[in-house]
């Protein structure tokens, strides 16, 4: 039981921290993606389709 609790706690910790780290750096990735597009592509959201 103790081992199961520890495993679940570990899974929760890594998942939560992973999601938070991803959410924190994603806008920077998006900014770099935007920097590789010209203004028209950004306005017409073509850079978004590159991620989809």
């Amino acid at each position: 039981m103790d081992r199961l609790t520890r495993t679940l706690s570990s899974v929760f910790t890594y998942t939560f921290l992973g999601i938070m780290a991803f959410l924190s750096i994603f806008p920077f990735i998006w900014m770099i993606l935007g920097a590789t597009n010209n203004s028209n592509d950004i306005v017409t959201a073509r850079s978004a389709s590159a991620v989809r």
Binding site: F16, L17, M20, I25, W30, A45
Partner: protein, 301 residues
């Protein structure tokens, strides 16, 4: 002997003043004088530079100004909703990252801290591009089936406020987390060992050991976050600016006190005196909230 000591003291006093004088002069000219001058201006009425002493007219005007009341309401909404969410999240993240056995600890810590090194205007523009009607966030939410229609982040008063709260939380959570993490790393681990031996559960250790020992840092982050939220300007100005010229969101739903001061000074017919009065409302609100927070989080023996 006594006269030698006196002349030595005078020498050190003069030298001390000589070193302090440039800094004192700069603080006087660039901080104390503008503060006092704006206090004087807050009693002036009139448009542009054509002002005259109006006594308490500006303060009376505050209570009859629906726009000011709306700005105050919005600022308080941001303060009441955003600050607790951000600080709770920061404390939770810090307590998870305080585990020395955690893998990729440095990497995760850096990633979460990274937003606070971005420029205020830069991240605000970035968030605006991500949250527009046909932007990345709406495309993702609709694509994943989380929402059946694009969320009107920029055109609905409720969602405009939510967007501002998301943006500020993203920018400042990592900054506050670092303070909590530094404080957590200074707590003696033997206290936790002793409580573990005594059979205190992990939630008990958090609420009855960690939180009380972090009180000074919680107070510091609460006060600085309060000041930051009451001075909220860049995000609203940059995210909510539309082609029509409004910089306060739909139905002025994101109008904050700082944006209102900007509008009174630079967008409407300049009313410097009234803008100075609104500025002093922020000063008083910050002082009042800081006193309440100091009282609420004071050390009890």
């Amino acid at each position: 002997m006594a006269s030698a000591n006196r002349s030595l003291n005078r020498y050190f006093n003069i030298n001390g003043w000589f070193f302090v004088a440039p800094a004192a002069l700069l603080i006087g000219v660039f901080m104390v004088y503008p503060i006092l001058y704006s206090l004087w201006m807050s009693f002036q009425t009139g448009k542009g530079m054509m002002t005259q002493f109006g006594g308490l007219a500006n303060i009376r005007r505050l209570f009859d100004d629906p726009m000011f009341m709306l700005a105050l309401y919005n600022t308080m909404i941001f303060f009441i909703v955003q600050v607790p969410i951000m600080l709770t999240l920061a404390l939770f993240l810090a307590s998870l990252l305080d585990n020395p056995n955690l893998k990729f600890r440095g990497l995760i810590r850096t990633a979460i801290f990274l937003p606070c090194v971005s420029s205020l205007v830069g991240y605000a523009v970035l968030f605006k591009s991500m949250f527009v009607q046909d932007g990345l966030i709406n495309s993702t939410l609709v694509g994943l089936g989380i929402s059946d229609h694009p969320i009107p982040w920029m055109t609905d008063p409720f969602w405009a406020r939510v967007l501002i709260i998301i943006a500020i939380t993203w920018r400042w959570t990592g900054y506050n987390m670092i303070f909590f993490l530094a404080a957590l790393q200074n707590i003696d681990k033997s206290i936790y060992e002793a409580s573990r031996i005594d059979g205190v559960p992990s939630w008990g250790r958090f609420f009855y050991l960690t939180v009380p020992m972090l009180k000074p840092v919680i107070l510091f982050t609460t006060v600085t976050s309060t000041i930051g939220t009451l001075q909220l300007f860049d995000e609203v100005r940059n995210i909510m600016t539309s082609d029509a010229g409004s910089a306060a969101g739909p139905s002025n739903s994101a109008l904050t006190l700082s944006v209102y001061i900007y509008n009174l000074t630079f967008k409407f017919v300049p009313s410097f005196g009234y803008a100075a009065t609104v500025s002093y409302v922020i000063v008083l609100a910050v002082a009042l909230l800081a006193v309440i927070q100091f009282y609420a989080l004071r050390e009890k023996d």
